[in-house]
């Protein structure tokens, strides 16, 4: 395992080092206001997922695969729908708590599309929400129960709150963003995670002398080659 890989075999990347297009969409370190006007700083450390196969094969816990946390539809920015894809490192904490919930529910826990990580460029991302931190999940089904009634949502809200004081749920109701009527919303707040594989003093170094990951070097080389070709023609 190289220094930038985790125990999952995934690379951890500092989003400040990513290509301009991706970095612009992920907005690492930017401050966003939530619906109450409080400001939160977006995460900068992400797992890089090289392919759909890797997303499917990577288990974050015994019952949750990484692919379940990156399911989005056309509302996600197109530049973030192609591999390699990125998900904030804190997603593994969310997976841990969902595994706990699964244990207590005694049934499978199903996350909706657009229900886990949504980038700040996602069309549903109006205000800051823990979804942009990879620390929120909208669960639409537990076992065979589709969560669309007050009774079902309140039952599993209660169960989720019992898992940990860290878990916040939205009450049953019909106002988007304030409550939920077709899923159980679970979030851990605005947690950012700096993986142990990362040395933060790297940020003290000048940008150009900072060590790069192999894929970054490849991209830089490609860009330089393209520039050279342009100047020759």
């Amino acid at each position: 395992m190289s220094h930038d890989e985790t125990e999952h075999g995934l690379k951890v990347v500092d989003a400040f080092d990513l290509d301009d297009e991706v970095r612009t969409l992920l907005k690492p370190g930017e401050l966003l206001r939530d619906a109450q006007g409080r400001r939160h700083r977006l995460p900068r450390y992400f797992y890089e997922i090289p392919s759909h196969e890797v997303a499917l094969a990577t288990r974050l816990t015994a019952h949750f695969g990484l692919n379940e946390f990156i399911l989005t539809d056309f509302r996600e920015a197109s530049g973030l729908q192609q591999y390699p894809r990125y998900v904030p490192c804190a997603v593994r904490i969310l997976a841990f708590y969902l595994e706990e919930l699964r244990e207590r529910a005694g049934s499978s826990v199903h996350i909706a599309v657009n229900g886990a990580y949504r980038s700040p460029s996602h069309k549903l991302s109006e205000n800051a929400s823990p979804h942009m931190w990879g620390t929120a999940a909208d669960v639409y089904r537990i076992g065979s129960t589709i969560l669309k009634t007050k009774e079902a949502i309140e039952k599993y809200n209660e169960l989720a709150e019992d898992v940990s004081d860290e878990i916040h749920v939205l009450p049953y109701g019909h106002v988007t963003g304030r409550d939920a009527d077709d899923h159980v919303h679970i979030d851990l707040g605005y947690i950012t995670l700096v993986p142990r594989e990362i040395s933060e003093d790297r940020m003290e170094q000048p940008q150009e002398s900072r060590p790069r990951f192999a894929f970054e070097e490849r991209r830089r080389k490609d860009r330089r080659a393209a520039v050279a070709a342009d100047s020759e023609s």
């Binding site: 056309f74 599309v113 089904r141 589709i146």
Partner: protein, 292 residues
């Protein structure tokens, strides 16, 4: 060819009175409150209509406008047919933004409901919206492209006679009298553009036709035609209306576009009026050719 077309045209002219009488008879037999018809025959270039500017509740014929709006966006490169869409049964009323869910019991499309919580592509949703009249698929696509875009598509193509305000099963809007409405002329114009490859691009029209030809509800226009006929069409049913609008392809002749809109008392239920009208018009336009 010219002689054949002239004969048919003469035949149509000669039988116009009997066609009119026949339609009045069908209207009376089926106790219809209202009937609207329009057709255009590409073989003879004859266009004929009856009460074709009267606005009816659109029912599911509004899905033709949604299809048009989707392919507008696809043709402009603003939407991909293979783009995934979250299948979620939650929509907001146009009246007060109040959320509502579709009644699964009223929508006979397990193909879409079976994907709740997952994704389907725009192409799949468009397919089920038309071929099985999926309300869920329709509302999802309305959310994808937006009502404004759908109306813009109608305006750009100068399709008068179609008012699309909302998706389906928006009860609050229904109670407020905000309904989608169509005329026979409006639907005829839309289908003619598709049949003639003029709705955005030939490729877009080919794709729309392919979907429309797979229509699974065949008790309307197709029920009045020979089995060999292929019909690219969309039906529309609620408790008081039964419509069908389609392009009829018959062997050895150009297609004709036909719209039949019927309205009847709720307690009566729909009968075979649309099929009967379709049969009469087939006999008028092409029946003789087939017999000979």
């Amino acid at each position: 060819m010219v002689a054949k077309a002239a004969v048919i045209e003469d035949s149509v002219a000669a039988s116009e009175v009997s066609l009119y009488r026949s339609l009045l008879r069908i209207r009376e037999e089926h106790s219809l409150d209202n009937l609207g018809i329009s057709f255009y025959d590409a073989e003879t270039t004859v266009q004929w209509s009856y009460n074709a500017d009267h606005y009816f509740h659109a029912a599911s014929t509004m899905k033709l406008a949604v299809l048009l709006g989707v392919f507008r966006q696809v043709d402009r490169g603003e939407l991909a047919l293979d783009a995934p869409v979250h299948v979620r049964n939650r929509f907001t009323s146009i009246v007060n933004q109040e959320p509502f869910m579709l009644d699964l019991g009223r929508d006979a499309d397990p193909d879409v409901y079976g994907h709740l919580g997952k994704t389907m592509t725009v192409r799949e949703l468009a397919y089920w919206m038309i071929t099985k009249s999926s309300n869920l698929g329709t509302n999802l696509l309305v959310d994808v492209v937006g009502i404004a875009t759908i109306q813009q598509a109608l305006d750009e193509l100068e399709i008068d006679g179609m008012r699309v305000l909302r998706g389906v099963e928006d009860q609050r809007a229904f109670e407020a009298g905000l309904n989608n409405e169509v005329t026979a002329h409006g639907l005829l114009k839309l289908l003619r553009l598709i049949a003639e490859g003029k709705a955005y691009s030939q490729k877009a029209c080919d794709e729309m036709l392919e979907i429309l030809l797979d229509q699974q509800y065949r008790s309307g226009i197709p029920a009045g035609l020979p089995k060999a006929a292929r019909v690219a069409h969309k039906t529309g049913n609620i408790s008081t209306v039964h419509h069908d609008a389609g392009i009829v392809y018959l062997e050895k002749r150009k297609p004709y576009v036909l719209v039949i809109l019927t309205q009847f008392p709720a307690e009566q239920g729909r009968g075979s009026a649309v099929a009967d009208v379709s049969r009469d018009i087939f006999n008028t336009l092409a029946g003789n050719v087939y017999e000979s």
